[in-house]
Amino acid sequence: MSGRGVRLGLGLVAGALMLVALYMVFVYVPTEADQGIVQRIFYFHVPCAWVAFVSFALVAIAGIFYLWLGQQVWDDLGYAAAETGMVFCTLVLVTGSIWAKPIWGAWWTWDSRLTTTLILWLLYGGYLMLRAMAGDSEQGARFGAVVGIVAAIDVPIVIVSVRLWRTIHPAVLVTRQGGHGLEDPRMVATLLVSLAAFTALFIWLLCLRFVTLRMHTRLNALTRSLALAEAAAQDT
């Protein structure tokens, strides 16, 4: 199977899973007792956060391998993961804010979970700005790798922030039956399907972006080769 075929297959799997997830979110899952219909944002908000965390962990891993081995492929993977992670981190902040307005009565509050997530977004925004400013230089790639590794330290901080500090961010949900957490198995099933759908979507987007960056790297190498060949041809 060719690379293009694999990417098409991934896209189809992601699309199919997304349709199943949408059906479960809007038809299958029961409405949460306290928050009502707006709680359904949770089923896409949490997977966006999960995918963003995986992306940023991947940026750090790719950064370590780039600094260790110096191979361009690791830099391309880190860059692709950072960009994809930023898309999902932005969605986490936006959907969280939309959920917060009817539930908390405010679009934003300086809660520990929200603040650490915003810091994460700013850190990887800085990473992407650095990469954009540095162009295709090797130094830019090295600095980017270091920033990507250091910024990933914020990922576990975001995860444990609700336990470390006082927070109003929900850690549990109340079901219609009065229980706590995702006690209704349909809520758990919907969340798991959404997580699978977003993971597939992330892999697909990462592959697409990674292939584009590999093409860019190949184009740079060919441009250099052509310039050398043209200079040599003029000499002869």
Binding site: I37, I41, F44, I98, P102, L205, E230
Partner: protein
């Protein structure tokens, strides 16, 4: 704004952003493919020109 509007807004934004990102990657890929084809064509033309010049050189020398 009722709660249904918030729910609709959240899902609409998610799909709009993902669609926009896919479109961005797709357009970038199309542009890069065109650039790659152009540079490969220039390399082939250069190879042919160098080959032809060498053939002329060898004929002149003999």
């Amino acid at each position: 704004m009722d709660n249904l509007s918030y729910l609709f807004a959240a899902y609409a934004i998610i799909f709009a952003v993902i669609f926009g990102y896919v479109l961005f990657i797709w357009r970038r890929q199309v542009a890069l493919e065109a650039e790659l084809r152009a540079i490969e064509a220039r390399m082939t033309a250069l190879d042919q020109a160098v080959g032809a010049a060498r053939a002329v050189e060898s004929r002149t020398a003999s």
